[in-house]
Symmetry: C2
Subunit: 330 residues, 2 copies
């Protein structure tokens, strides 16, 4: 009883102490939380390898996009294009995939010419691979990716419009370069563009792919790409080609619909002739198109079927650039 | 016990009788079902007031559409257009809304010039109303409606393509004639086309309506139209106008999105100059456009808000009529 009596004040005191301690801890947590919210953001251009933040600062993750541009042996074009692309409306950040192995990134020069409208991150690569641009970069904070080849100039008007179209078709690759496959009686597929026979579904042509070298797509597809059969990576590495065809297969399989939505560009230009390096791009190789047909057939084997679907929808911007571009004889 | 014993054979016999009767009934039902499936279909053109069938014969309810064409004082144009429209791919049936009050339908002549590719139903009206074409006709069996003015000629290519677009956007009005409203600082709305100021959402123009006089839409919207506030019918009757604006309000409210999807027509013509009747259509009335602005404002009152939303998506057919109509300088 004596013990019990002695424990009583102890227990009462213990409870009061417990309450007091709890209150103190809660207050400390609140203070800590408030302080965390007030911390300044870490500048991306000082830290090329940024850990993933929960939400992009400034623009919302849904209303902005990240430009991913892979570059090899055309730094002069890259810098020219960066001056253009860094000012595109709704751009959140630029990720430059630096395939110039062993060469220093132009970071000093870039910073000396600041400030820049958006952060630009240079991702140094260890091997010059075509599929380097399809990594799931931790710096990527937006739902939308804009992927551009380092020799392709698309006008800001086209990009702003295509981004708005992507927002209405977020599960598709929305871009400016349509391509198609056709099947032949032998069952062997061929890859090509308008010069190839129409697939024969009604009149007009069809496309079954939209190339990712000038397109918007959902960043989730970069995650998906990391989970593909090894044979896909081997194929892309073997050909140094076809990563875009593989992405179209991936998207078509995922949606069960045509992978892409084609937006007809008003102003799209290839600047490769302008480069000092003289490097003129993979698609000039003699075997380039044959390789792509080869890739289509290999991917059908790997995925055990042809998931690509045809579309003939061509989207343009109503009333732009000609304010009556929809007028008719009526 | 005696009773029980006596009931036994009776019960056994009763059960056997019950089983036998059940078997007979089931066999009879199966035979009846088989016979029903073998019955010939009732020809629509002999019975202008057909009761609703469960499924259209021939083409599936999803893969075909019903043309609804209202006509007043332009029977020559009507018949010219019918020769064209009756042969459109995927057409299931034509419903002619006969606004020529007191005048006989040209049924004899029509039948004498048979056979026809699809059934054509003449719906005799008692009052010449603009909104007669928006009834929920029992003859309507397809999910899709194509509504055409009786002086508008759209090519089969355009219609086939627009139908395929509608199938991808079934909750929208998919058609060839875009219009818009604009708001003014006073809060009063104006109705118009490209000649009107752009609404100011980025560059280029926007549309917020697609007129139903040359468009595909879901037949369910005809059902919905029967359930609108009385004031809507009064407005349409008062102006003999604006039924199409009312439909766009209805669809926009229903979807929360832009009501229409504009398909740029390759070949659309107005034939009103060709009519022998000299009747030139309601839109030539001096007050026509002012009426439509008036209707927009009235409908905003009736629906207590502006449900119309803007779009700048313009859809064309890839590779048609020019097989490289998507080619660019790249």
């Amino acid at each position: 009883r004596y013990l019990h009596f002695c424990k009583l004040p102890g227990r009462v005191m213990g409870i009061r102490l417990l309450r007091f301690t709890s209150v103190v801890i809660i207050v400390l947590l609140l203070v800590a939380g408030a302080l965390t919210a007030l911390l300044p953001t870490i500048k991306d251009d000082k830290m090329p390898h940024l850990r993933r933040e929960a939400k992009p600062q400034g623009q919302s993750a849904l209303d902005s996009f990240t430009l991913i541009m892979q570059t090899y042996n055309r730094t002069d074009l890259l810098l020219k294009l960066l001056n253009h692309y860094q000012a595109i409306p709704h751009l959140h950040k630029v990720i430059v995939v630096w395939n110039n192995i062993g060469e220093k990134i132009p970071e000093e020069m870039w910073n000396s010419l600041g400030p820049h409208p958006v952060p630009v991150v240079f991702k140094v690569q260890t091997v010059n691979r075509m599929r380097n641009r399809l990594q799931n970069f931790p710096e990527l904070e937006t739902k939308a990716v804009l992927m551009m080849d380092d020799d392709t100039l698309v006008s800001a008007h086209d990009l702003a419009f295509a981004f708005s179209v992507w927002q209405q078709f977020p599960e598709h690759i929305v871009g400016f370069v349509p391509r198609k496959h056709i099947s032949t009686p032998s069952g062997v597929y061929s890859y090509g563009s308008f010069e190839l026979q129409n697939p024969g579904f009604g009149n007009g042509d069809q496309y079954s792919m939209v190339l990712i070298g000038a397109a918007f797509f959902h960043s989730g597809y970069l995650e998906d790409f990391q989970r593909q059969p090894e044979a896909v990576y081997a194929l892309i590495d073997e050909t140094q080609n076809c990563d875009d065809i593989a992405m179209n297969f991936l998207v078509a399989k995922h949606t069960g619909k045509p992978s892409g939505v084609f937006v007809k560009p008003v102003d799209i230009r290839n600047l490769e002739k302008d480069t000092n390096s003289g490097y003129s791009g993979m698609w000039h190789r003699a075997e380039h198109l044959l390789q792509r047909s080869y890739c289509v057939n290999k991917l059908v084997n790997i995925y055990d079927g042809m998931p690509l679907k045809y579309s003939n929808i061509m989207i343009s911007q109503f009333g732009f650039p000609n304010y009556a571009n929809h007028k008719n004889k009526m």
